[in-house]
């Protein structure tokens, strides 16, 4: 992490570090589901009673957001000078 150290890959670029972070995440996710099945959490809505509801919802929401956003990009994405071209035209 020296400021002048440009050529050496930093710690976060090393595949084994990335892999370790991923494994840690998988472990935490697994643990959270196990805890969810063991403890009796309060529920207010019927939908919350689905085991690990929040886990499913979090995953699905995120994938849904990104997929919908990709579709949105096709609809609203334009070249960077889109409005400049218009300004020139107007001028």
């Amino acid at each position: 992490m020296q400021p002048s150290d440009n050529d050496n890959p930093g710690w976060a670029d090393r595949p084994e570090v990335q892999q370790r972070i991923r494994y840690l995440l998988y472990f935490i996710c697994g643990l959270l589901v196990v805890i969810d099945l063991l403890v009796n959490r309060h529920t207010y809505l019927p939908v919350e009673e689905i085991p690990a509801f929040y886990a499913f919802y979090g995953f699905a929401a995120l994938v849904g957001v990104v997929m919908l956003a990709k579709a949105l990009r096709n609809l609203v994405g334009r070249s960077e000078d889109y409005y400049q071209k218009d300004d020139d035209h107007a001028a």
Partner: protein, 563 residues
């Protein structure tokens, strides 16, 4: 204890002094203003009211209650952080307008009547526009004007609404207004524009990314939070706000995912967070209102922290686009760490500030039976994690190393970011610090097992979603682009309609002119024939014919005389 004065005063005096001083003296004056103001606030008693009678009007330029105090505190903290962050600049324009801007926000929350509120509302709009113009490039001039148009529109609505309200009720006092009263709707939209209501939000996504690196930090602290304050005081429990808030929380996350300019991502993210506050105000219970204003309080810190970290990146590298950034964690490790603290906070992990405030709004939604809205807000919570929690730090500091020449941010910037980061964590760990100053009476405990577990599940599996998308190659790449938003209507559609209209009118004009031209030409030629130099009527008459006619005339007289 300090003698009592209007809380706007320290900022006004500092702004005037800053205009005529420079160097360390100016820095000291600027840092002292929020400190003196803040110490003054600590000694204030709720219930202080200063009234003036102006003819038939009762003006209350200064009123202290628990709600205004909460916002007063956070504005002083925000002002101190923003001033510290920008203290290295040698730009008098930014320093003076920054102080005036912060001061007018403070003035607005202590305004007890709609007229005083309007005055500070206008200073707020005008002074903040200079923070955009201070970028001093061609682009910022146009953007600053567009930004100001929204601010002025909001001001005009507020003034019109306030006058109408005054005519009907005979009072200008700023309390609960509601939509039922005359002028209520106008005031509602005046506040709504500055809250970033859907389709009225473009001044945020247009203006904030265009301001200077330090200016955006000021901008993100004040205008929208003053609006949230005003909305909470004027329109608590207005049901429409629940749905407006839910919409505000949801739609910007899609734009944030595909936006390339990281400061614009944060601007969209800000609207998303404002959605939670607006929704809480709409629910209107003590718990929900506490949640809304507590979230506004926290948002100043965590959104400020994120804007500061992106400002530092902009200041050091001159770039804010995700497609041009990456790998900066090696050269800016402290900024990167502080940015990650901000990212964790806005994602509302347990033990940071957003967790203890956002969960109040979420709990209130369930308590009041808004299950569907709650599902949408939960969806929005997962979306926040994607764009603000992961995208911002990942693309700026990690991703592909672009080998950008960079160094760590200046020390004053790091200090400002550190204060915000420490507060984000401190409020999360010791929520009682914030809960004890909340204005409404509601008992709430953020840390119970269910809350912590469910929130961790939501966030951990959302991260898992990101990993899944990344590893399967489905995650969208950052590409330089402009994404059309509601602003397209006035930046493209209206000009296009205007130009089409002008062209159409010109065509109709020339079509109508053709017969007219022909007719007028004929008329002219006819007139020339008779009246022209060679025309019959213009011919010079010989003297002889005149004598003849005189003779005829005399003859007629003679005949008449005989008759």
């Amino acid at each position: 204890m300090l003698p009592d004065f209007h809380p706007f005063l320290p900022f006004l005096i500092a702004a005037i002094l800053a205009a005529f001083t420079k160097g360390h003296l100016r820095s000291a004056i600027m840092l002292l203003a929020p400190v003196i103001g803040g110490l003054h606030l600590l000694g204030l008693e709720t219930g202080t009211v200063v009234e003036y009678q102006l003819m038939e009007l009762t003006l209350i330029p200064y009123r202290v209650d628990a709600l205004s105090l909460l916002f007063g505190y956070i504005f002083h903290i925000g002002a101190f952080i923003a001033v510290l962050y920008s203290i290295h600049l040698k730009d008098t324009l930014q320093h003076v307008t920054g102080l005036l801007y912060a001061g007018s926000a403070v003035g607005a929350v202590f305004a007890g009547d709609l007229f005083t509120l309007f005055v500070f509302w206008e200073i707020l709009g005008l002074s903040s526009a200079f923070l955009i113009w201070a970028a001093r490039d061609e682009r910022s001039v146009a953007i600053g004007i567009r930004y100001l148009v929204f601010q002025i529109l909001s001001g005009v609505l507020l003034m019109a609404g306030a006058l109408w309200f005054w005519l009907e009720t005979g009072s200008l006092e700023f309390g609960e207004i509601g939509l039922g009263v005359s002028g209520g709707l106008l005031i509602f939209f005046a506040f709504g524009i500055k809250c970033g209501f859907p389709f009225l939000h473009n001044w945020i996504t247009d203006g904030y990314p265009a301001a200077t690196a330090t200016g955006t930090v000021f901008l993100c602290c004040f205008t929208t939070k003053v609006a949230v304050y005003a909305m909470a005081r004027g329109f608590p429990g207005t049901e429409a706000l629940i749905y407006i808030g839910a919409f505000m929380a949801c739609y910007p996350i899609f734009f944030a995912v595909i936006e390339n300019d990281l400061r614009k991502v944060l601007a969209y993210s800000m609207i998303n967070q404002l959605g939670f506050m607006v929704c809480g105000i709409g629910i209107g219970t003590a718990l929900a209102l506490n949640g809304a204003v507590a979230h506004a309080f926290n948002d100043v810190l965590f959104k400020g922290l994120l804007f500061m970290s992106m400002g530092a990146v902009l200041y050091v590298t001159g770039r804010t686009k995700a497609s041009e950034l990456g790998g900066l964690y090696k050269k800016m490790p402290i900024t990167a760490t502080l940015c990650i603290v901000g990212a964790i906070t806005i994602s509302a992990f347990p033990l940071v500030s957003a967790f203890i405030s956002k969960s109040m709004v979420m709990s209130a939604l369930i308590e009041e039976g808004h299950g569907i809205v709650w599902m949408f807000m939960l969806f929005a919570s997962a979306g926040v994690l994607e764009h603000a929690g992961i995208k911002i730090p990942y693309f700026a500091f990690f991703a592909h190393d672009q080998n950008i020449p960079a160094r760590e941010a200046p020390r004053n910037m790091l200090a400002a970011m550190s204060i915000a980061a420490v507060l984000c964590v401190a409020i999360g760990v010791f929520p009682a610090m914030l809960y004890s100053i909340l204005p409404y009476d509601a008992d709430y405990h953020a840390y119970d097992m269910t809350h912590v577990l469910t929130q961790l599940q939501l966030l951990a599996f959302a991260i898992l979603g990101v990993v899944f998308l990344h590893r399967s190659g489905r995650y969208p790449a950052e590409v330089p682009s402009v994404n059309l938003d509601a602003e397209w209507v006035y930046r493209r559609l209206f000009p296009r309609i205007y130009h089409t209209l002008v062209r159409a009118l010109a065509a109709v004009g020339s079509f109508l002119r053709r017969p007219l031209d022909r007719w007028s030409l004929g008329l002219m030629m006819g007139l020339t024939r008779t009246h022209g130099p060679q025309g019959t009527l213009a011919r010079t008459w010989p003297t002889g014919s005149m004598v003849l006619w005189v003779a005829v005339l005399l003859l007629v007289y003679l005949l008449l005389d005989f008759l």
